[in-house]
Protein backbone atom coordinates (compact mmCIF):
# COMPACT_ATOMS: atom_id res chain seq x y z
CA UNK A 1 0.00 0.00 0.00
CA UNK A 2 2.67 2.43 0.93
CA UNK A 3 4.71 1.67 -2.15
CA UNK A 4 1.75 2.11 -4.46
CA UNK A 5 0.64 5.45 -3.00
CA UNK A 6 4.16 6.72 -3.42
CA UNK A 7 4.20 5.78 -7.08
CA UNK A 8 0.81 7.33 -7.83
CA UNK A 9 1.92 10.56 -6.22
CA UNK A 10 4.77 10.92 -8.69
CA UNK A 11 2.79 9.93 -11.77
CA UNK A 12 1.41 12.29 -14.39
CA UNK A 13 2.57 15.37 -16.26
CA UNK A 14 3.99 18.33 -14.39
CA UNK A 15 1.40 20.97 -13.37
CA UNK A 16 3.12 23.66 -15.52
CA UNK A 17 3.15 21.27 -18.46
CA UNK A 18 -0.56 20.70 -17.89
CA UNK A 19 -1.16 24.45 -17.66
CA UNK A 20 0.58 25.10 -20.99
CA UNK A 21 -1.34 22.30 -22.66
CA UNK A 22 -4.74 23.35 -21.34
CA UNK A 23 -4.14 27.02 -22.11
CA UNK A 24 -3.96 26.33 -25.82
CA UNK A 25 -7.40 24.71 -25.86
CA UNK A 26 -9.65 27.77 -25.46
CA UNK A 27 -7.40 29.70 -27.84
CA UNK A 28 -7.64 27.12 -30.62
CA UNK A 29 -11.35 26.77 -29.90
CA UNK A 30 -11.76 30.55 -30.03
CA UNK A 31 -9.96 30.57 -33.36
CA UNK A 32 -12.34 27.95 -34.67
CA UNK A 33 -15.40 29.87 -33.52
CA UNK A 34 -14.02 33.10 -35.01
CA UNK A 35 -13.40 31.35 -38.32
CA UNK A 36 -16.96 30.11 -38.27
CA UNK A 37 -18.20 33.63 -37.51
CA UNK A 38 -16.19 35.07 -40.41
CA UNK A 39 -17.32 32.41 -42.83
CA UNK A 40 -20.96 33.08 -42.01
CA UNK A 41 -20.83 36.89 -41.76
CA UNK A 42 -17.90 38.02 -43.99
CA UNK A 43 -17.10 40.39 -41.12
CA UNK A 44 -13.32 40.79 -41.39
CA UNK A 45 -12.70 41.45 -37.70
CA UNK A 46 -13.54 37.81 -36.89
CA UNK A 47 -10.67 36.56 -39.01
CA UNK A 48 -8.32 39.07 -37.35
CA UNK A 49 -9.37 37.58 -34.01
CA UNK A 50 -8.79 34.08 -35.34
CA UNK A 51 -5.26 34.98 -36.47
CA UNK A 52 -4.28 36.23 -33.01
CA UNK A 53 -6.00 33.41 -31.13
CA UNK A 54 -4.18 30.82 -33.21
CA UNK A 55 -0.86 32.64 -32.78
CA UNK A 56 -1.37 32.65 -29.01
CA UNK A 57 -2.43 29.01 -28.99
CA UNK A 58 0.74 28.06 -30.90
CA UNK A 59 2.89 29.70 -28.21
CA UNK A 60 1.32 27.67 -25.40
CA UNK A 61 1.03 24.45 -27.38
CA UNK A 62 4.60 24.91 -28.60
CA UNK A 63 5.91 25.11 -25.03
CA UNK A 64 3.89 22.02 -24.08
CA UNK A 65 5.25 20.24 -27.15
CA UNK A 66 8.82 21.09 -26.21
CA UNK A 67 8.21 19.84 -22.68
CA UNK A 68 6.68 16.62 -23.97
CA UNK A 69 9.61 16.10 -26.33
CA UNK A 70 12.19 16.51 -23.57
CA UNK A 71 10.32 14.09 -21.30
CA UNK A 72 10.13 11.65 -24.16
CA UNK A 73 13.89 11.88 -24.73
CA UNK A 74 14.58 11.39 -21.08
CA UNK A 75 12.34 8.33 -21.17
CA UNK A 76 10.90 9.40 -17.88
CA UNK A 77 9.42 6.30 -16.22
CA UNK A 78 7.35 8.36 -13.83
CA UNK A 79 5.30 9.57 -16.79
CA UNK A 80 2.15 7.46 -16.89
CA UNK A 81 -0.09 6.89 -19.90
CA UNK A 82 1.12 6.80 -23.51
CA UNK A 83 3.89 9.39 -23.83
CA UNK A 84 4.73 8.63 -27.45
CA UNK A 85 1.13 8.79 -28.65
CA UNK A 86 0.53 11.95 -26.61
CA UNK A 87 3.63 13.56 -28.14
CA UNK A 88 2.72 12.59 -31.71
CA UNK A 89 -0.85 13.85 -31.43
CA UNK A 90 0.34 17.11 -29.93
CA UNK A 91 3.01 17.40 -32.63
CA UNK A 92 0.43 16.84 -35.38
CA UNK A 93 -1.85 19.43 -33.81
CA UNK A 94 0.93 21.99 -33.54
CA UNK A 95 2.28 21.51 -37.06
CA UNK A 96 -1.20 21.74 -38.59
CA UNK A 97 -1.84 24.70 -36.30
CA UNK A 98 1.24 26.41 -37.73
CA UNK A 99 0.06 25.68 -41.26
CA UNK A 100 -3.28 27.12 -40.20
CA UNK A 101 -1.55 30.32 -39.03
CA UNK A 102 0.05 30.67 -42.47
CA UNK A 103 -3.30 30.03 -44.14
CA UNK A 104 -4.81 32.74 -41.95
CA UNK A 105 -2.22 35.17 -43.34
CA UNK A 106 -3.91 34.96 -46.73
CA UNK A 107 -5.90 38.08 -47.49
CA UNK A 108 -9.65 38.17 -46.92
CA UNK A 109 -11.59 35.19 -48.30
CA UNK A 110 -8.47 33.60 -49.82
CA UNK A 111 -8.04 31.73 -46.53
CA UNK A 112 -11.44 30.07 -46.81
CA UNK A 113 -12.55 27.33 -46.58
CA UNK A 114 -9.11 25.92 -45.67
CA UNK A 115 -8.85 28.05 -42.51
CA UNK A 116 -12.11 26.74 -41.07
CA UNK A 117 -11.36 23.10 -41.96
CA UNK A 118 -7.88 23.30 -40.47
CA UNK A 119 -9.22 24.95 -37.33
CA UNK A 120 -11.65 22.04 -36.84
CA UNK A 121 -8.89 19.44 -37.30
CA UNK A 122 -6.38 21.29 -35.13
CA UNK A 123 -8.88 21.84 -32.33
CA UNK A 124 -9.80 18.15 -32.42
CA UNK A 125 -6.14 17.11 -32.30
CA UNK A 126 -5.37 19.47 -29.44
CA UNK A 127 -8.40 18.22 -27.52
CA UNK A 128 -7.21 14.65 -28.06
CA UNK A 129 -3.68 15.55 -26.96
CA UNK A 130 -5.05 17.29 -23.89
CA UNK A 131 -7.14 14.22 -23.05
CA UNK A 132 -4.11 11.94 -23.41
CA UNK A 133 -1.91 14.30 -21.43
CA UNK A 134 -4.28 14.92 -18.58
CA UNK A 135 -5.32 11.26 -18.35
CA UNK A 136 -1.93 10.63 -16.80
CA UNK A 137 -3.11 12.60 -13.78
CA UNK A 138 -5.87 10.05 -13.06
CA UNK A 139 -4.47 7.81 -10.39
CA UNK A 140 -7.09 5.17 -11.12
CA UNK A 141 -5.47 4.45 -14.49
CA UNK A 142 -2.36 3.14 -12.82
CA UNK A 143 -2.07 -0.54 -12.39
Amino acid sequence: MVDRAYRIDRTGIHPVHAFLLISSVPLFLGGLLSDWAYSSSYEIQWTNFASWLIAGALVFAGCALLWAFIELLRGDRRWGGQPLIYFLVLLAGWVLGFVNALVHAKDAWAKMPAALILSVIVTALILAATWLGLSTLRSGDMK
Binding site: Q45, N48, W52, F69, L91, V99, A101, H104, A105, K106
Partner: protein
Protein backbone atom coordinates in the same frame (compact mmCIF):
# COMPACT_ATOMS: atom_id res chain seq x y z
CA UNK B 1 14.68 10.48 -36.23
CA UNK B 2 11.97 12.13 -34.21
CA UNK B 3 13.49 15.55 -34.76
CA UNK B 4 13.43 15.24 -38.54
CA UNK B 5 9.65 14.92 -38.75
CA UNK B 6 8.81 18.59 -38.10
CA UNK B 7 11.74 19.69 -40.23
CA UNK B 8 10.42 17.67 -43.14
CA UNK B 9 7.07 19.34 -42.70
CA UNK B 10 8.69 22.79 -42.78
CA UNK B 11 10.61 21.86 -45.90
CA UNK B 12 7.36 20.79 -47.53
CA UNK B 13 5.90 24.13 -46.51
CA UNK B 14 8.76 25.96 -48.15
CA UNK B 15 8.36 23.99 -51.37
CA UNK B 16 4.64 24.69 -51.45
CA UNK B 17 5.32 28.39 -51.46
CA UNK B 18 7.62 28.30 -54.44
CA UNK B 19 6.36 29.24 -57.84
CA UNK B 20 8.14 28.28 -61.01
CA UNK B 21 7.07 29.79 -64.29
CA UNK B 22 9.82 29.51 -66.84
CA UNK B 23 7.81 30.28 -69.95
CA UNK B 24 7.51 33.89 -70.98
CA UNK B 25 4.14 34.80 -72.44
CA UNK B 26 3.25 38.41 -73.12
CA UNK B 27 3.16 40.38 -69.89
CA UNK B 28 2.59 43.84 -71.33
CA UNK B 29 0.31 45.60 -73.73
CA UNK B 30 -3.45 45.54 -74.26
CA UNK B 31 -3.86 41.74 -73.97
CA UNK B 32 -1.51 40.42 -71.30
CA UNK B 33 -1.44 36.72 -70.47
CA UNK B 34 -3.39 36.22 -67.25
CA UNK B 35 -2.53 32.89 -65.60
CA UNK B 36 -4.73 31.16 -63.05
CA UNK B 37 -4.55 32.81 -59.63
CA UNK B 38 -2.16 30.97 -57.35
CA UNK B 39 -0.68 31.48 -53.94
CA UNK B 40 1.41 29.05 -51.93
CA UNK B 41 1.30 28.69 -48.18
CA UNK B 42 3.64 31.66 -48.01
CA UNK B 43 3.38 34.64 -50.36
CA UNK B 44 6.22 34.92 -52.87
CA UNK B 45 8.59 37.37 -51.30
CA UNK B 46 11.85 38.89 -52.46
CA UNK B 47 13.16 41.87 -50.58
CA UNK B 48 16.10 43.11 -52.60
CA UNK B 49 18.93 44.23 -50.35
CA UNK B 50 19.67 47.94 -50.68
CA UNK B 51 23.26 48.98 -51.36
CA UNK B 52 25.06 52.24 -52.02
CA UNK B 53 25.73 53.33 -55.60
CA UNK B 54 29.52 53.26 -55.16
CA UNK B 55 30.98 53.60 -58.63
CA UNK B 56 27.84 52.19 -60.26
CA UNK B 57 25.29 54.38 -62.04
CA UNK B 58 21.83 53.92 -63.50
CA UNK B 59 22.15 52.94 -67.16
CA UNK B 60 20.55 54.88 -70.01
CA UNK B 61 20.37 54.20 -73.76
CA UNK B 62 23.29 55.24 -76.01
CA UNK B 63 23.13 58.93 -76.80
CA UNK B 64 21.79 59.82 -73.39
CA UNK B 65 23.45 60.86 -70.15
CA UNK B 66 22.32 60.51 -66.58
CA UNK B 67 23.46 62.68 -63.70
CA UNK B 68 22.45 63.03 -60.08
CA UNK B 69 21.28 66.61 -59.74
CA UNK B 70 20.40 66.37 -56.04
CA UNK B 71 21.36 63.86 -53.38
CA UNK B 72 20.72 63.41 -49.66
CA UNK B 73 17.08 64.34 -49.98
CA UNK B 74 14.53 63.10 -47.47
CA UNK B 75 12.62 60.50 -49.50
CA UNK B 76 11.85 62.26 -52.81
CA UNK B 77 8.67 60.99 -54.45
CA UNK B 78 7.26 63.22 -57.16
CA UNK B 79 8.69 66.21 -58.97
CA UNK B 80 7.31 69.19 -60.88
CA UNK B 81 9.19 71.26 -63.44
CA UNK B 82 8.16 74.89 -63.06
CA UNK B 83 7.90 77.27 -66.05
CA UNK B 84 11.30 78.84 -65.30
CA UNK B 85 12.97 75.43 -65.22
CA UNK B 86 13.17 75.10 -61.44
CA UNK B 87 12.30 71.66 -60.11
CA UNK B 88 10.12 71.10 -57.08
CA UNK B 89 10.58 67.83 -55.20
CA UNK B 90 7.95 66.43 -52.80
CA UNK B 91 9.58 64.52 -49.97
CA UNK B 92 7.96 62.41 -47.30
CA UNK B 93 6.69 59.10 -46.06
CA UNK B 94 3.06 58.59 -45.15
CA UNK B 95 0.62 55.97 -44.04
CA UNK B 96 -0.55 55.21 -40.54
CA UNK B 97 -2.19 51.86 -41.03
CA UNK B 98 -2.41 49.98 -37.73
CA UNK B 99 -1.03 46.46 -37.67
CA UNK B 100 -4.10 44.31 -37.31
CA UNK B 101 -2.74 40.79 -37.61
CA UNK B 102 0.47 38.88 -36.89
CA UNK B 103 1.06 39.01 -40.65
CA UNK B 104 1.04 42.83 -40.65
CA UNK B 105 3.77 42.94 -38.01
CA UNK B 106 6.03 40.43 -39.75
CA UNK B 107 5.45 41.80 -43.25
CA UNK B 108 6.09 45.43 -42.27
CA UNK B 109 9.43 44.48 -40.71
CA UNK B 110 10.48 42.57 -43.83
CA UNK B 111 9.34 45.25 -46.29
CA UNK B 112 11.12 47.98 -44.32
CA UNK B 113 14.41 46.26 -45.22
CA UNK B 114 13.86 47.25 -48.85
CA UNK B 115 13.32 50.96 -48.24
CA UNK B 116 15.41 53.85 -47.01
CA UNK B 117 15.92 54.27 -43.26
CA UNK B 118 15.83 58.06 -43.73
CA UNK B 119 12.94 59.92 -42.12
CA UNK B 120 10.60 61.59 -44.61
CA UNK B 121 11.16 65.31 -45.09
CA UNK B 122 7.50 66.39 -45.25
CA UNK B 123 8.67 69.27 -47.37
CA UNK B 124 9.13 70.61 -50.88
CA UNK B 125 12.67 71.22 -52.04
CA UNK B 126 13.35 73.55 -54.97
CA UNK B 127 16.28 72.85 -57.30
CA UNK B 128 17.60 75.50 -59.64
CA UNK B 129 19.91 75.43 -62.63
CA UNK B 130 20.35 79.15 -63.18
CA UNK B 131 22.78 78.98 -66.12
CA UNK B 132 21.12 76.07 -67.93
CA UNK B 133 24.17 73.78 -67.91
CA UNK B 134 22.31 70.84 -66.42
CA UNK B 135 23.94 71.31 -63.01
CA UNK B 136 21.42 72.27 -60.36
CA UNK B 137 23.57 74.41 -58.14
CA UNK B 138 20.67 76.10 -56.31
CA UNK B 139 18.75 74.28 -53.62
CA UNK B 140 16.24 75.72 -51.14
CA UNK B 141 13.44 74.37 -49.01
CA UNK B 142 10.34 75.77 -50.68
CA UNK B 143 7.88 74.66 -47.99
CA UNK B 144 8.06 72.46 -44.92
CA UNK B 145 5.92 70.94 -42.18
CA UNK B 146 3.68 69.34 -44.78
CA UNK B 147 2.07 65.94 -44.24
CA UNK B 148 3.64 63.43 -46.61
CA UNK B 149 3.31 65.59 -49.76
CA UNK B 150 3.16 63.62 -53.01
CA UNK B 151 1.24 64.98 -56.00
CA UNK B 152 2.19 68.40 -57.38
CA UNK B 153 0.48 70.63 -59.94
CA UNK B 154 0.85 74.22 -61.03
CA UNK B 155 -2.11 76.16 -62.42
CA UNK B 156 -1.29 79.77 -63.18
CA UNK B 157 -0.26 81.37 -59.92
CA UNK B 158 -1.39 78.46 -57.77
CA UNK B 159 0.82 75.61 -56.74
CA UNK B 160 -1.27 72.64 -55.59
CA UNK B 161 0.19 70.01 -53.29
CA UNK B 162 -1.55 66.75 -52.42
CA UNK B 163 -0.61 65.87 -48.86
CA UNK B 164 -1.60 62.43 -47.61
CA UNK B 165 -4.64 63.96 -45.88
CA UNK B 166 -5.45 67.16 -47.77
CA UNK B 167 -5.13 69.05 -51.00
CA UNK B 168 -3.51 72.41 -50.29
CA UNK B 169 -2.47 75.43 -52.33
CA UNK B 170 0.41 77.87 -52.28
CA UNK B 171 0.56 81.14 -54.16
CA UNK B 172 3.45 80.94 -56.63
CA UNK B 173 5.27 83.68 -58.48
CA UNK B 174 7.84 82.77 -61.16
CA UNK B 175 11.31 82.72 -59.67
CA UNK B 176 10.13 82.22 -56.11
CA UNK B 177 12.42 79.97 -54.05
CA UNK B 178 10.38 79.87 -50.90
CA UNK B 179 6.64 79.82 -50.27
CA UNK B 180 5.42 83.23 -49.16
CA UNK B 181 3.11 81.82 -46.51
CA UNK B 182 1.46 78.73 -45.10
CA UNK B 183 -0.64 76.62 -47.46
CA UNK B 184 -4.35 77.19 -47.95
CA UNK B 185 -6.64 74.17 -47.65
CA UNK B 186 -8.50 73.31 -50.86
CA UNK B 187 -10.16 70.13 -49.59
CA UNK B 188 -9.45 67.36 -47.15
CA UNK B 189 -8.72 63.96 -48.64
CA UNK B 190 -9.63 60.49 -47.32
CA UNK B 191 -6.81 59.59 -44.95
CA UNK B 192 -8.13 57.18 -42.32
CA UNK B 193 -5.70 54.25 -42.11
CA UNK B 194 -4.08 55.30 -45.42
CA UNK B 195 -2.72 51.88 -46.34
CA UNK B 196 -1.98 53.32 -49.79
CA UNK B 197 -1.23 56.86 -48.73
CA UNK B 198 0.18 58.49 -51.87
CA UNK B 199 -2.14 61.12 -53.28
CA UNK B 200 -1.36 61.56 -56.95
CA UNK B 201 -2.31 64.87 -58.50
CA UNK B 202 -2.67 66.55 -61.86
CA UNK B 203 -4.64 69.48 -63.23
CA UNK B 204 -6.95 69.49 -66.23
CA UNK B 205 -5.69 71.26 -69.34
CA UNK B 206 -7.83 74.32 -68.64
CA UNK B 207 -6.86 74.34 -64.96
CA UNK B 208 -10.48 74.24 -63.75
CA UNK B 209 -10.22 70.80 -62.23
CA UNK B 210 -7.69 68.88 -60.23
CA UNK B 211 -7.58 65.10 -60.33
CA UNK B 212 -6.53 63.30 -57.16
CA UNK B 213 -5.64 59.61 -57.01
CA UNK B 214 -6.72 57.90 -53.80
CA UNK B 215 -5.45 54.35 -53.27
CA UNK B 216 -7.33 51.50 -51.60
CA UNK B 217 -6.99 50.88 -47.88
CA UNK B 218 -5.89 47.27 -48.32
CA UNK B 219 -4.47 44.82 -50.80
CA UNK B 220 -7.80 43.11 -51.39
CA UNK B 221 -10.33 44.16 -48.71
CA UNK B 222 -8.51 42.39 -45.88
CA UNK B 223 -9.29 45.38 -43.67
CA UNK B 224 -12.99 45.12 -44.44
CA UNK B 225 -15.19 47.00 -46.88
CA UNK B 226 -16.13 49.77 -44.43
CA UNK B 227 -12.67 51.32 -44.64
CA UNK B 228 -12.85 51.41 -48.46
CA UNK B 229 -15.36 54.25 -48.55
CA UNK B 230 -13.95 56.92 -50.87
CA UNK B 231 -10.89 54.76 -51.60
CA UNK B 232 -9.54 53.17 -54.79
CA UNK B 233 -10.76 56.03 -56.94
CA UNK B 234 -9.86 59.23 -58.71
CA UNK B 235 -11.53 62.41 -57.55
CA UNK B 236 -12.20 65.40 -59.73
CA UNK B 237 -11.83 68.47 -57.53
CA UNK B 238 -13.10 71.90 -58.55
CA UNK B 239 -10.01 74.10 -58.12
CA UNK B 240 -12.10 77.15 -57.23
CA UNK B 241 -14.41 75.64 -54.62
CA UNK B 242 -12.73 72.42 -53.47
CA UNK B 243 -15.92 70.48 -54.23
CA UNK B 244 -15.27 66.99 -55.57
CA UNK B 245 -16.94 64.15 -57.41
CA UNK B 246 -15.87 60.59 -58.09
CA UNK B 247 -14.34 60.68 -61.57
CA UNK B 248 -13.38 57.00 -61.79
CA UNK B 249 -13.70 54.15 -59.29
CA UNK B 250 -12.38 50.61 -58.80
CA UNK B 251 -8.85 51.89 -59.40
CA UNK B 252 -6.84 50.02 -56.77
CA UNK B 253 -3.93 52.41 -56.39
CA UNK B 254 -3.71 55.28 -58.89
CA UNK B 255 -0.17 56.34 -58.06
CA UNK B 256 0.41 58.82 -60.86
CA UNK B 257 -1.87 60.96 -62.99
CA UNK B 258 -1.11 63.10 -66.01
CA UNK B 259 -2.90 64.88 -68.81
CA UNK B 260 -2.14 63.90 -72.40
CA UNK B 261 -0.92 66.92 -74.36
CA UNK B 262 -3.25 67.91 -77.16
CA UNK B 263 -6.20 65.74 -76.22
CA UNK B 264 -6.55 66.80 -72.58
CA UNK B 265 -7.23 63.14 -71.74
CA UNK B 266 -6.49 62.02 -68.16
CA UNK B 267 -4.08 59.07 -67.87
CA UNK B 268 -3.29 57.09 -64.76
CA UNK B 269 -0.63 54.64 -63.65
CA UNK B 270 -2.25 52.03 -61.45
CA UNK B 271 -0.81 49.43 -59.11
CA UNK B 272 -2.85 46.25 -59.06
CA UNK B 273 -3.36 43.63 -56.37
CA UNK B 274 -0.81 41.24 -54.87
CA UNK B 275 -0.64 37.68 -53.62
CA UNK B 276 -2.28 35.72 -56.44
CA UNK B 277 0.90 34.89 -58.30
CA UNK B 278 4.04 36.34 -59.85
CA UNK B 279 2.22 37.19 -63.08
CA UNK B 280 -0.99 38.54 -61.62
CA UNK B 281 -2.24 41.19 -61.64
CA UNK B 282 -0.55 43.43 -64.21
CA UNK B 283 0.02 47.02 -63.17
CA UNK B 284 -1.15 49.28 -65.95
CA UNK B 285 -1.43 52.66 -67.55
CA UNK B 286 -4.77 53.68 -68.95
CA UNK B 287 -6.74 56.59 -70.27
CA UNK B 288 -9.27 57.17 -67.52
CA UNK B 289 -12.91 57.27 -68.54
CA UNK B 290 -15.23 59.65 -66.75
CA UNK B 291 -17.49 57.56 -64.52
CA UNK B 292 -15.59 54.39 -65.33
CA UNK B 293 -15.26 51.46 -62.91
CA UNK B 294 -11.98 49.56 -63.17
CA UNK B 295 -12.76 46.45 -61.16
CA UNK B 296 -11.23 46.72 -57.72
CA UNK B 297 -11.91 44.87 -55.56
CA UNK B 298 -14.37 42.58 -57.31
CA UNK B 299 -12.45 41.84 -60.47
CA UNK B 300 -9.25 42.62 -62.37
CA UNK B 301 -8.40 43.31 -66.00
CA UNK B 302 -12.08 43.56 -66.81
CA UNK B 303 -14.18 40.60 -65.79
CA UNK B 304 -11.62 38.36 -64.05
CA UNK B 305 -13.32 37.80 -60.70
CA UNK B 306 -11.16 38.00 -57.59
CA UNK B 307 -12.44 35.19 -55.41
CA UNK B 308 -10.89 36.69 -52.28
CA UNK B 309 -13.62 39.29 -52.01
CA UNK B 310 -16.82 38.60 -50.05
CA UNK B 311 -19.55 39.49 -50.63
CA UNK B 312 -19.08 39.38 -54.39
CA UNK B 313 -20.81 41.73 -56.80
CA UNK B 314 -21.59 40.32 -60.23
CA UNK B 315 -23.12 43.59 -61.41
CA UNK B 316 -19.98 45.55 -60.65
CA UNK B 317 -17.84 42.86 -62.31
CA UNK B 318 -19.93 43.12 -65.47
CA UNK B 319 -19.38 46.88 -65.60
CA UNK B 320 -15.60 46.74 -65.08
CA UNK B 321 -13.51 48.39 -67.79
CA UNK B 322 -10.45 46.65 -69.25
CA UNK B 323 -7.45 49.00 -68.87
CA UNK B 324 -5.47 50.11 -71.93
CA UNK B 325 -1.95 48.84 -71.44
CA UNK B 326 -0.43 46.33 -69.02
CA UNK B 327 3.14 46.83 -67.81
CA UNK B 328 3.66 43.54 -66.01
CA UNK B 329 2.75 42.36 -62.55
CA UNK B 330 4.39 43.76 -59.41
CA UNK B 331 6.48 46.32 -61.31
CA UNK B 332 4.87 49.01 -59.12
CA UNK B 333 4.32 51.88 -61.51
CA UNK B 334 4.70 55.11 -59.55
CA UNK B 335 5.68 57.69 -62.14
CA UNK B 336 3.99 58.86 -65.32
CA UNK B 337 4.89 61.59 -67.79
CA UNK B 338 4.20 62.26 -71.47
CA UNK B 339 7.28 62.91 -73.53
CA UNK B 340 7.95 65.55 -76.15
CA UNK B 341 10.17 66.05 -79.17
CA UNK B 342 12.99 67.54 -77.08
CA UNK B 343 13.67 64.05 -75.64
CA UNK B 344 14.97 62.88 -79.02
CA UNK B 345 13.16 61.15 -81.88
CA UNK B 346 13.16 57.72 -80.24
CA UNK B 347 11.32 58.97 -77.19
CA UNK B 348 9.39 61.82 -78.79
CA UNK B 349 5.87 60.37 -78.61
CA UNK B 350 4.89 58.28 -75.63
CA UNK B 351 4.81 57.83 -71.90
CA UNK B 352 7.66 57.52 -69.46
CA UNK B 353 6.78 55.25 -66.55
CA UNK B 354 8.74 54.88 -63.31
CA UNK B 355 8.66 51.34 -61.92
CA UNK B 356 9.50 51.15 -58.24
CA UNK B 357 9.63 47.35 -58.00
CA UNK B 358 7.78 45.16 -55.52
CA UNK B 359 8.37 42.64 -52.73
CA UNK B 360 5.80 40.22 -54.12
CA UNK B 361 7.72 38.70 -57.02
CA UNK B 362 10.74 36.47 -57.46
CA UNK B 363 12.61 37.21 -59.62
CA UNK B 364 11.81 40.85 -58.96
CA UNK B 365 10.46 43.05 -61.74
CA UNK B 366 10.34 46.80 -62.14
CA UNK B 367 13.25 48.78 -60.66
CA UNK B 368 13.57 50.79 -63.87
CA UNK B 369 12.08 53.57 -65.96
CA UNK B 370 10.46 52.50 -69.21
CA UNK B 371 8.98 54.23 -72.23
CA UNK B 372 5.67 53.23 -73.78
CA UNK B 373 5.68 54.43 -77.40
CA UNK B 374 2.49 56.03 -78.69
CA UNK B 375 1.07 56.45 -82.18
CA UNK B 376 -1.99 58.56 -82.92
CA UNK B 377 -2.47 59.18 -79.23
CA UNK B 378 -2.59 55.49 -78.22
CA UNK B 379 0.06 53.06 -76.93
CA UNK B 380 1.72 51.26 -79.84
CA UNK B 381 4.36 48.60 -79.37
CA UNK B 382 6.33 47.09 -76.55
CA UNK B 383 7.84 49.17 -73.77
CA UNK B 384 11.47 50.28 -74.08
CA UNK B 385 13.93 50.38 -71.17
CA UNK B 386 15.07 53.93 -70.47
CA UNK B 387 16.79 53.86 -67.10
CA UNK B 388 17.97 50.54 -65.69
CA UNK B 389 20.52 49.13 -63.25
CA UNK B 390 18.61 50.37 -60.22
CA UNK B 391 18.83 46.70 -59.37
CA UNK B 392 22.33 45.52 -60.23
CA UNK B 393 23.50 42.18 -61.62
CA UNK B 394 24.30 41.24 -58.02
CA UNK B 395 20.60 41.51 -57.17
CA UNK B 396 21.15 44.46 -54.87
CA UNK B 397 19.06 47.58 -55.26
CA UNK B 398 20.84 50.90 -55.43
CA UNK B 399 17.81 52.98 -56.23
CA UNK B 400 14.07 52.75 -56.70
CA UNK B 401 12.42 55.11 -59.20
CA UNK B 402 9.23 56.90 -58.23
CA UNK B 403 8.06 60.04 -60.01
CA UNK B 404 9.13 60.84 -63.55
CA UNK B 405 8.71 64.29 -65.08
CA UNK B 406 9.63 65.62 -68.50
CA UNK B 407 11.43 68.93 -68.57
CA UNK B 408 10.15 70.66 -71.73
CA UNK B 409 13.72 71.70 -72.53
CA UNK B 410 14.65 68.07 -73.07
CA UNK B 411 15.30 66.08 -69.91
CA UNK B 412 13.66 63.37 -67.89
CA UNK B 413 13.66 63.97 -64.14
CA UNK B 414 13.51 60.78 -62.05
CA UNK B 415 12.99 60.77 -58.29
CA UNK B 416 14.66 57.87 -56.47
CA UNK B 417 13.34 57.23 -52.96
CA UNK B 418 15.93 54.60 -52.00
CA UNK B 419 19.16 56.51 -52.64
CA UNK B 420 17.29 59.79 -52.01
CA UNK B 421 18.50 61.20 -55.30
CA UNK B 422 17.03 63.16 -58.20
CA UNK B 423 18.36 61.86 -61.53
CA UNK B 424 18.34 63.80 -64.78
CA UNK B 425 18.36 61.92 -68.08
CA UNK B 426 19.08 64.04 -71.13
CA UNK B 427 20.10 63.54 -74.75
CA UNK B 428 23.90 63.80 -74.84
CA UNK B 429 23.75 66.21 -77.74
CA UNK B 430 20.09 67.10 -78.25
CA UNK B 431 20.45 68.04 -81.96
CA UNK B 432 22.56 65.03 -82.89
CA UNK B 433 20.35 62.60 -81.01
CA UNK B 434 17.29 63.95 -82.74
CA UNK B 435 18.95 63.64 -86.13
CA UNK B 436 20.25 60.07 -85.86
CA UNK B 437 16.89 58.29 -85.67
Amino acid sequence: MRITAPLAMFAATAILSGCGDKSDPVRYGPNPALPTPHRGLLPTMKIATPAGWGDQRPMVPPGYTITAIATDLKIPRQTLVLPNGDILVAEGRGGNAPKLTPKDIIASKLKAQGTTPVKGGNRLTLLRDADGDGVYEGRTVFAENLNAPYGLALVGGNLYVANQDALVRFAYQPGQTRASGPPVLVTTLPSAINHHWTKALTASADGRFLYVGIGSNSNITERGMNVETDRAMIWQVDAATGAHRQFATGVRNPTALTIQPGTGQLWAAVNERDEIGPNLVPDYVTAVRDGGFYGWPYSYWGQHVDDRVRPQDAEKVASAIVPDYALGSHVATLGLAFSNAAMGARFADGLFVGEHGSWNRSPPSGYRVIFVPFRAGRPAGPPIDVVTNFMGQDGKTRGRPVGVTVDPRGALIVADDLSNTIWRVAPARPQAAAATR
